[in-house]
Amino acid sequence: MSDLNTLTIAEARDKLRAKEITSLELTEACLTQIEASDALNAFVHNTPDLARDQAKAADTRLGEGDAPSMCGIPLGIKDLFCTKGVPSQAASAILAGFKPEYESTVSQNLFDAGSVMLGKLNMDEFAMGSSNETSTYGDAVNPWRRDNDDAALTPGGSSGGSASAVAADLCLAATGTDTGGSIRQPAAFVGITGIKPTYGRCSRWGVVAFASSLDQAGPMTKSVRDAAIMLEAMCGHDPKDSTSADLAVPNFEAMLTGDIKGKVIGIPKEYRMDGMPEEIEKLWANGTAMLKDAGAQIRDISLPHTKYALPAYYVIAPAEASSNLARYDGVRYGHRAKLEHGDGITEMYEKTRAEGFGPEVQRRVMIGTYVLSAGFYDAYYNRARKVRTLIKQDFETVFAQGVDAILTPATPSAAFGLGDMSDADPVQMYLNDVFTVTVNLAGLPGITVPAGIDKQGLPLGLQLIGQPWEEGDLLNTAYALEAAAGFVAKPAKWW
């Protein structure tokens, strides 16, 4: 059977259970596509042997009956996840050659459910970036192109390889991580679904840390149903992550009824930015109308501190990163600079980190160092943490007034060209996350769903933000939006 790689998780599960296909056939179909996809630079470490072994084991388990939904499903895993014996570099030169001796909890959960790993996926270095242009592996490329224009576009970032691989049907789904929008922005740029769950839903253990109070893993999939299935397999309490929530994981898929009658959807006026492209405005209005037609109640709301989310983020995230990335010292793993005669330990640290970290990572580590340094800690870091409290209170206020979910655009634009931002100052790139970063600061679940095509033929996404721990309800609202939007477009194959 051909084109097995284009199946959704739900379709593949049903065919696997009905013995119409085997996991090995499904896996081979994906491996064949991956081999022919070098131009996308999505997969950066391939694990075909492991994949075949896992697929065979999954087929045995399926044969015995009662296998979980994710059993036999071939996935791509973002390079940020430590995978035992398989290179895990966070797309950084400083982790060149690093092969973890352990498995991240999220990837272990997926393997325990019978999933197959095809390989590791490209990303921005240490997940710092919005275009996958800071990777030591080079840019990942968006399978979408503008009409009549073969300029290479960004798949977004930081989970750019995950986005590209899923949109190009190289795998059935992929893991992503999201610190300021790194699942939701790339998902929107390639026309797929991506959910960042509530902070604490997915264990952070074994995921290379960027900003620990903001980082969350989540699935990037071809449909909302797939997101529900895969998220359930990824999350769960983990004593090895002290911020992991000790809460039962619901059957998210069973909550997809598509019935959102009476649900209150908030439309935040602060997300109507100056200079927002008309197409994004229109997409948002269309999405609002779709939810209203599906029976939801639309309510204008205010989240007054929205404007301060990005500046607060660019204090808190670099501060945490400067601390987290202190461990890359050339002693325990990864790269160590060649030293000259007479160099001591300080030279070893300084040279190793100068060689190993790319420019954006260096910039953020130094900004973080500055805002945490004596004399500036209160003015920057503590002030940002207070603003974060206010941002969270904004959401709590509207949720307390009965709002079930909030609808916003996912990104301020469609995918832009690789290299287009190279002359811009760093802040211009940071603005990509303007609609997504509030969600991380408030610890909330957020999902993006593809909802339209712009006039150049590129996908655009909408974001839904839910109440804490209400991923099931959020997924159901997204499911209704997905059904109404009817987005089925795929990129024309050029790679």
Binding site: G200, P239, A326, H335, Y370, Y380, P426, V427
Partner: protein
């Protein structure tokens, strides 16, 4: 607040990242752009607001103070750039 070349050098030193002298002015300028963006936070009235420590209301769990694993020296050292005789090796620290 404006960051000059000397401040940029001091931050780089604190962060243990070697920056060549000629790269410092451009770096200082980038810092100023980013910090200029961050300065917006000064517009917010934060009087009486608690700085956030945990985004979800939770008490950090405690565990018993016992050894939970160990005896894996080879695995701990397996990724070290320089491991000798069961230790991480580094340049001479003490004369």
């Amino acid at each position: 607040m404006s960051i000059d070349k000397d401040t940029a050098a001091r931050v780089a030193k604190l962060a243990r990242i070697r920056i060549e002298d000629e790269a410092l002015p451009a770096l200082a300028e980038e810092f100023n752009t980013i910090l200029g963006f961050i300065e917006q936070l000064n517009e917010v009235d934060v009087d009486g607001v608690e700085p956030m420590t945990s985004v979800t209301p939770m008490r950090l769990p405690r565990r018993k103070d016992v050894v939970t694993d160990g005896n894996q020296q080879a695995r701990v050292l397996s990724n070290a750039p320089d491991a000798r005789e069961g230790f991480f090796a580094v340049p001479k620290v003490v004369e």
